[in-house]
């Protein structure tokens, strides 16, 4: 293990464990107004008159007419309104915001507001939707020829459902307008996303907008784009009321109104010759919900990953994100990858079964190697350690023996074991880092030798402040105590990009390492110094062509192999995970325990995605809008969980590190469903697959 990988106490450990850390909900509320959104109760409707009860003094209602700038939230496209403009597109669509000094009075008044709706026909199933938001296609090789030459062609459909981020701290923030300057502070991942959105909606110059992150209680993507929406709404109220406005969602509101993981419908046609995949022809359909938010970039990642880790010489993918009248889906750790990786991993197991091969052998036989072309005709420039990782995980889980034993089971309890081999592309897709993000970081040294790390990177629990400190202090060869990483404040920090896409250590950390090397060379005792470092695109990358979707979509990939073992009670349908093993290649860990914590946490979220977490929109209503109805894992479900790291230096990352955070959310769900189909001796095509699904399956088999 490299010295830097040795775990250190996390910098935010004590303030959090002692209860002293102040999340936005913990800040003093004296003199503030509490805000609560008026949300649509119709899935699709025009609305006219809004009848308000008589508002006591100091209580105000704001809507689209009160937005001083543009009534659109800047995300990727600007179609999400700050407040609905005459039409609502989903149940929960914000129409207006009621604010006042007593939260309970605000809630009572809100119930008395009447909205006149003229109901329109909603669309809930993306397969029936006529409104396409985005199309992303891949066309590689000669697909017609591949299918003409095939020994056999397989075709199947796959479906994955909504998943809720379920961070323990709900979305919340405070807006304050003082002396012509709007300050937003709160729970958020991407200060500069919020910055751009607030400036546009409020019509304010950049110098009159300031965004500050407070201690953030988990994000997982759920605080990537959503805080931009909430910030614009709160800002409108703060602007007019001239008082600080605090909006902190309760769990129900957070679950019905904030972004989820996109539901997916995929159709795969796969051409096989001599037990090798020679072509894939894939339709990927993502349910975007009512507005576009991040669907374009989520879809891109899904389309790129649709062929899995496999070397597929002839590939056609038609990706589409369509509008439906449910709450918009957006970013969720994995970001479009988990859906198509689920589909391709299941497809490969089904083909292997038909060919009479073990699924893992069949997958390894088709896996890409270093130097092979990627799905976008880029290149796997760096080692693909999948075979060695697979060997480790299969051995640890005793996969082959168990697979042999778990056949032709007829008793009440039936066991199964399954595996998945996946990757996650590190950093922004395509030219994002170069053309959109253009990251800048700074190191500011004071006269007394303290070094301040200035980036927009946010710590929401993933340990970024600790790891960035380690990168800088290790490079400068000074104690961690001499380096300061504070919560980002856009008045102080440059735009180093959002904290998303498993990019922070690989991209921002690398810039910091370069800056620290320069500071070390130029270090002058007793003088204040400032070092600025700008993003440089790696020169080995094959340029990405956004129109044809070709080239290197990512500089490199993080790899993982997952095995899950289950026992199913055929009387009750109960699925018990009796073992779970994962091996992860994230380059050199900057902090071994932080990385292990990331891998274990993501692993459990993905196990939840596979066999527990079911969220449905029934006629547009999110039915599972509480922790009573939406069940996330507790400490007892996955007790036999084993994570190992496969360490290979990534030469372009700081100390050999590459992307980590999202990787564990990709593979465990398909491994789980593979285990369930093994136990039930069948083939399965949807996630999640919960006890109720087992019961339905067993009933049908009878």
């Amino acid at each position: 293990m490299k010295t830097i990988s040795k775990a250190v106490p996390k910098l935010d450990h004590y303030e959090k464990i002692s209860g002293a850390a102040k999340y936005v909900c913990d800040l003093p509320t004296k003199g503030m107004l509490f805000g609560r959104m008026l949300r649509s109760t119709e899935a699709r409707a025009k609305f006219g008159n809004i009848t308000l009860p008589e508002l006591p003094e100091g209580y105000f209602f704001y809507d689209k007419n009160d937005v001083p700038g543009v009534n659109k939230v800047q995300i990727v496209l600007d179609d999400t309104p700050v407040f609905a403009e005459g039409i609502v597109e989903y149940i929960g669509d914000p129409i207006g915001l009621l604010v006042g000094s007593d939260e309970r009075v605000v809630n009572q008044l809100l119930k008395q507001i009447q909205v006149e709706y003229e109901v329109l026909e909603p669309v809930f199933d993306p397969r029936e939707s006529k409104e396409s938001f985005f199309n992303v296609n891949i066309d590689k090789g000669n697909i017609a020829e591949a299918f003409a030459n095939a020994d056999k062609v397989y075709e199947e459909k796959f479906h994955t459902g909504l998943q809720e981020q379920a961070y323990l701290e709900t979305n919340g923030l405070i807006a304050e307008y003082v002396d012509g300057k709007m300050t937003i502070r709160g729970s958020l991942q991407c200060p500069y996303y919020v910055f751009g959105a607030v400036a546009q909606a409020m019509g304010l110059e950049n110098e009159n907008v300031r965004i500050v992150q407070d201690v953030t209680g988990g994000g997982f993507g759920g605080k990537e784009d959503y805080p931009s929406v909430l910030a614009c709404q709160a800002a409108v109220a703060a602007y007019h009321s001239k008082k600080p406005v605090r909006i902190v969602f309760d769990r129900h509101e957070d679950m019905i109104a904030t972004s989820k993981r996109h539901p997916s419908y995929c159709t795969y046609r796969v051409a096989i010759k001599d037990k090798k995949v020679i072509g894939m022809d894939i339709d990927v359909l993502y349910d975007a919900g009512a507005y576009t938010t991040l669907s374009l970039v989520v879809l891109q990642r899904g389309v790129i990953g649709a062929a899995g880790i496999y070397n597929v010489p002839n590939l056609k993918v038609r990706g589409e994100a369509r509008k439906t009248n449910i709450v918009p889906s957006g970013a969720f750790r994995g970001f479009g990858g988990p859906q198509t990786f689920f589909a391709v991993e299941m497809m490969m197991t089904h083909i292997a079964k038909d060919l009479g091969m073990d699924a893992v052998e069949f997958k390894l036989q088709n896996a890409a190697k270093q130097g092979d072309t990627t799905s976008t005709s880029g290149r796997y420039h760096f080692p693909v350690p999948i075979p060695a990782m697979t060997e480790d995980v299969l051995k640890a889980s005793d996969y082959y023996n168990k697979k042999k034993v778990y056949q032709n089971q007829t008793g009440r309890y039936r066991r199964g074991i399954g595996a998945s081999l996946v990757y996650h592309g590190c950093g922004f897709t395509g030219n994002g880092e170069r053309d959109l993000i253009k990251a800048v970081v700074k190191l500011k040294k004071s006269k007394d030798g303290m070094v301040e790390v200035l980036t927009a990177g946010t710590d929401m629990g993933q340990g970024l402040f600790t790891t960035l400190n380690k990168i800088v202090s290790s490079t400068l060869e000074i104690p961690m105590e001499q380096v300061i990483v504070a919560l980002p404040d856009t008045d102080m920090v440059p735009d180093s990009g959002p904290t998303v896409a498993s990019r922070s250590i690989m991209s921002v950390g690398n810039l910091l390492m370069k800056a620290a090397k320069r500071l070390k060379e130029e270090w002058i005792d007793g003088e204040a110094q400032l070092i600025e470092q700008r993003y440089e695109h790696p020169d080995f990358m094959i340029p990405f062509d956004n129109d044809n979707f070709t080239g290197d979509a990512y500089p490199t990939f993080s790899w993982s192999v997952n095995v899950v073992e289950v026992e199913i009670d055929s009387l009750t349908g109960f699925i018990k995970v009796i073992g779970a093993w994962g091996c992860y290649d994230v380059g050199t860990p900057i902090d071994e325990q932080i990385v292990m914590g990331q891998m274990e946490g993501g692993f459990v979220q993905s196990l939840g995605y596979g066999m527990m977490e079911k969220m449905e929109a029934h006629n547009g209503w999110i039915r599972n809008s509480s922790f009573s109805d939406y069940i996330i894992p507790t400490a007892v479900e996955f007790e036999n969980l084993h994570v190992m790291l496969h360490v290979v230096d990534y030469p372009n990352g700081p100390f050999g590190a590459k992307g980590a955070g999202e990787l564990p959310n990709v593979g465990p769900a398909p491994a789980t469903i593979d285990a369930i189909q093994n136990a039930l001796d069948t083939t399965l095509n949807k996630a999640p697959f919960i006890a109720e699904d087992v019961m339905n399956f067993l009933r049908e088999v009878k």
């Binding site: 004590y14 959090k16 209680g217 929401m460 692993f603 459990v604 507790t634």
Partner: protein, 158 residues
Amino acid sequence: MSNSVKFRLNGAEMTYTENPAMRLLDALREGYLLTGTKCGCKEGECGACSVIVNGQLYNSCLVAMGSLEGAEVMTIEGFSKTERFAVLEKAYQEVSAVQCGFCIPGMVLASECLLASNPHPTEEEIRVGISGNLCRCTGYNSIVAAVGIAAQKGEGLW
């Protein structure tokens, strides 16, 4: 008829005279400004608002202030001054078990209640003992390990 509730909060005598139907959670956070107790769901599912009442772990969102006559309430602010906390704190640190931290005050109090009733728990007993407290970040392995370490290092404290 008395319209006040007398109870002890982190060792201090308190007389509560507000709405007896107020949730202990809200009274702690809004009235006593003890914000270490977190609100995650307000329906007793997540455990972020866990506090110790008369030695037992409670979801403070489900406790009415009126029910606390004579009770001894301990929050993370009180517990963090104890020797047992110091052992748990070090154990959590040793395995980097604190990520976003929102569940952690409740998780630490759940750890305390578990060890108080069972100073030498098995891994399974630890898992059951903290199963009323949701954590979305860690996957629980590190927290389970931390409680195990605390049980060992705090030998004799519980």
